[in-house]
């Protein structure tokens, strides 16, 4: 925050999660010594970047080392301004470039800088001087993209990571475009100090974005399907350690039990329903109380023994000990997991969450219908789907059931512009679709009159129907 002097927080450190940028291409990596990184068909090491400021542009030199580039590299490569007015005399004979492919390869091997290669190409182009000023610009820009071997190292942000995922791996994030993600964060009123439920299968991008907007204040409960929560995208944000204190998770397979009040957060229940930790774990859990007391003295006695016994026994005991240690470790882990589940369940149980964000490859309707029950009244929710039809179903069901107002089914349309003197126009290619959103606000349904046409009393006839539609 303090700008004076202390640049430390803006410097690249070993272990940092960073984003590499070249042109409009991004890639998230972690800074590790002697680790080869491949980015845009080039390989290099990030060792040299350590200690430099974020947003520094580096040049990739031979051997894959990075060399910081002076900030103001004057871009005007051709100062001798000479240009044609139109292309009436330019013929496409395929011979305008005097350098052959081999020539260019040798230039590259000589370790010539990108800038120098481009200058060579310009000097050896017979038509360059006849091109219009605009065409010359375009030519240089195109060659720059191909031959300039620079990379900028950025501090990750929600904006950069959302653009990166959408550009590189849209399939992993259900084709959620970054402007759609921004709508979700706003429509769900994500802010510091609230309690937000997130159900996503977007590699952790949505979860990370929510955490970023909460700045470490409040709590986020990730509802996850399957064996465990997916958080690769969260890592890329490089959050400080204390951010993880606000992050909880709860398996979606326990939601019904939690809603029915039958969820037992004692150890046995957890291990039996967990697919990974099998019977062994369950057995261990049962014998836990005794084992706990015996463990430490036993281990101690073993240690004293090992010195006196012969080799074979030692090995055997070693094995045994390792086994024991492993079992112990497992037990500790299981216990931790149980505690975490209990903590998350406690957060959910009062059904007073402040927001709900859903973005997954699953059918959103059942997810929305059950998770909505954890929200307090007068709180926003947002559901993302790559397709419109499932959201139509959600909308219809919510209208039938009541308990929500302000329902809106929307999508956004994003258009980029090229803005240049006398050459301003929309960018030629635009994204075909960034998915759809259903948003709304919860209202209280408890014991007051049923929603719908002005029926003032008698909540009875509507209630049973209500529970039917949920299941």
């Amino acid at each position: 925050m303090a700008d004076n002097g202390g640049d430390e927080e803006y410097r690249i450190k070993e272990g940092d999660y960073v984003v590499l940028k070249r042109g409009d291409i991004y890639k998230a990596v972690q800074i590790q010594t002697r680790k080869k990184v491949i980015f845009e068909k080039q390989w290099f090491f990030l060792d040299n970047a350590v200690g430099h400021l974020y947003s520094t542009k580096f040049e990739i030199v031979s051997g894959g080392t990075l060399q910081p580039q002076a900030r103001k590299s004057t871009d005007s490569s051709s100062d001798a301004k000479e240009a044609g007015t139109d292309n009436r005399n330019i013929l496409d004979d395929g011979k305008s470039q005097k350098l052959t492919r081999d020539d260019i390869e040798t230039l590259k091997e000589q370790g010539l800088k990108g800038q120098e290669i481009i200058q060579q190409l310009i000097d050896n182009s017979s038509t360059f001087r006849d091109k219009t000023e605009y065409a010359q610009d375009k030519y240089i820009k195109k060659k720059k993209k191909k031959y300039e071997n620079t990379v900028t190292i950025l501090k990750p942000s929600c904006r950069i990571l959302a653009m990166m995922y959408h550009g590189r791996e849209p399939g992993k994030i259900c084709h959620l475009r970054y402007d759609t993600l921004s709508q979700m964060l706003t429509l769900a009123n994500i802010h510091a100090g609230s309690k937000v439920l997130v159900f996503e299968t977007c590699a952790g991008l949505v979860l990370g974005s929510v955490m970023d907007r909460m700045g470490g204040y409040g709590s986020v409960i990730q509802m996850y399907p399957g064996g465990g929560p997916v958080r690769a995208g969260v890592e890329s944000f490089g959050f400080p350690a204390h951010f993880h204190n606000m992050l909880h998770d709860f398996p979606i397979c326990h939601v019904n039990a939690l809603l029915a009040g039958t969820l037992d957060t004692t150890a046995k229940d957890l291990s039996s329903s967990d697919s990974k930790q099998s019977d062994v774990a369950a057995e261990e859990e049962q014998t836990q109380p005794e084992a706990k007391q015996q463990d430490s003295p036993e281990e101690q006695s073993m240690e004293t023994n090992t010195g006196t016994d012969d080799g074979q026994d030692q090995e055997k005991e070693e094995k045994e000990r390792r086994k024991e240690a492993k079992a112990q470790e497992k037990k500790v882990k299981l216990e931790e997991k149980r505690k975490k589940l209990a903590a998350a369940a406690a957060l959910l149980e009062d059904r007073k969450a402040d927001g709900l964000v859903i973005a997954s490859r699953f059918h959103p309707c059942p997810v929305l219908m059950s998770l909505l029950k954890f929200l307090a009244p007068s709180r926003p929710f947002v559901v993302y789907s790559q397709f419109k039809e499932p959201l139509i179903e959600c909308y219809t069901k919510l209208r039938e059931q009541g308990g929500t107002v302000n329902l809106r089914l929307t999508d956004t349309w994003l258009r980029h512009y090229q803005v240049l003197p006398n050459r301003t126009h929309p960018v030629l290619l635009m994204s075909g679709g960034g998915g759809y959103l259903l948003s709304g606000t919860t209202i209280s349904t408890d014991r007051s009159k049923p929603p719908g046409p002005q029926r003032v009393e008698e909540p009875a006839p509507k209630r049973p129907k209500l529970t039917d539609t949920v299941v």
């Binding site: 959302a162 706003t186 009123n189 402040d354 307090a376 809106r408 994003l414």
Partner: protein
């Protein structure tokens, strides 16, 4: 209630949003003894609002009812008293993300206008950030400052009544992000740079006309801004409908009549009774906003 913190119950002095229908909401200043007229009748604050839970249904004097919602920047945007043209949620959402706003961000904004964007910024940067907002129209500056106080966010914002193009933002070297919504943003680009932190940050300018964008982009480039990028975001609302598509009558089918013993023809027999097919679908509204403004973003590099 506060615009940056949820609470469960309505209290005296709160601003609550009365929800009548999707396109009919109004903000209400909750005051002991006060009354609010709606088309469903009167709401008496002392009995109908104070102490009730946000999200409750309130029955008005004529027997109709409304819902009372907790205020959010998004609800405020659709209910606030207009003193100027305002920014709507679609643009606000994009601006918030593209400016990298989060808790702790220090933001400069001009003009404040009706405070639509300001409330959204405050929500996002709370509890540790700050908003410096500049409005050259004195009455508007006073009105918005009053609103910030009522909404209990005045500790997060400083309103300055001055001309941003001449006098800048009144701060230097503190901002992570700058937002400009003024007629001649290119005249404020230098001031934006001054207001920003030494190590850099993000800037956004909102302009309805492409000529404004053109000049702004030139000014940004001249001042050394990088990653200059102009975009436009439009919202499409889909109205969910059940539509019925009638089937035309093709007349009696002679091929079906010829082989009445065929098993498949007996199945087909009841089909002609269907004279329409119903489909769940969405329709676009007849007219939609086609343009709000161009959003130009740029990065200020470290200086």
């Amino acid at each position: 209630m506060s615009f940056v913190e949820y609470s469960d119950f309505i209290q005296d002095g709160d601003v609550a949003i009365v929800y009548l229908s999707h396109d009919n909401m109004m903000p209400v200043k909750v005051q002991q003894g006060a009354q609010t007229q709606t088309r469903y009748g009167v709401i008496r604050h002392s009995t109908d609002l104070i102490g009730k839970r946000y999200g409750s249904k309130v029955t008005c004097s004529k027997g109709g009812w409304v819902h009372v919602l907790h205020p959010t920047p998004e609800l405020w945007t659709v209910t606030l008293p207009h003193r100027t043209q305002i920014l709507y949620t679609t643009d606000i959402a994009t601006i918030t993300m593209m400016l990298d706003l989060k808790p702790g961000s220090v933001v400069c904004e001009s003009g404040t206008g009706s405070g639509s964007l300001s409330h959204a910024i405050l929500r996002t940067i709370a509890p540790t950030g700050h908003l410096h907002t500049v409005e050259f129209h004195q009455k508007r500056a006073e009105a918005v400052a009053e609103e910030f106080k009522e909404h209990r966010v005045d500790h997060l914002v400083t309103v300055r009544n001055q001309d941003v193009c001449k006098d800048g933002f009144g701060v230097a070297g503190v901002a992570d992000a700058v937002f400009l919504d003024i007629p001649s943003p290119w005249e404020a680009v230098g001031h934006a740079k001054t207001a920003m932190k030494k190590h850099g940050g993000r800037v956004c300018s909102f302009s309805p006309c492409i000529e404004q964008v053109q000049r702004t982009c030139e000014a940004l480039a001249d001042h050394g801004f990088e990653e200059i990028n102009t975009l436009e975001v439009l919202l499409r609302v889909h109205d969910v409908r059940t539509v019925s598509l009638p089937l035309p009558d093709f007349g009696p089918d002679p091929s079906a009549e010829k082989q009445p013993e065929q098993p498949d023809s007996s199945e087909k027999a009841p089909a002609p009774k269907h004279t329409a097919v119903t489909v769940k679908t969405t329709t676009p509204p007849r007219e939609i906003p086609g343009h709000t403004g161009y959003l130009t973003f740029a990065t200020k590099p470290r200086t």
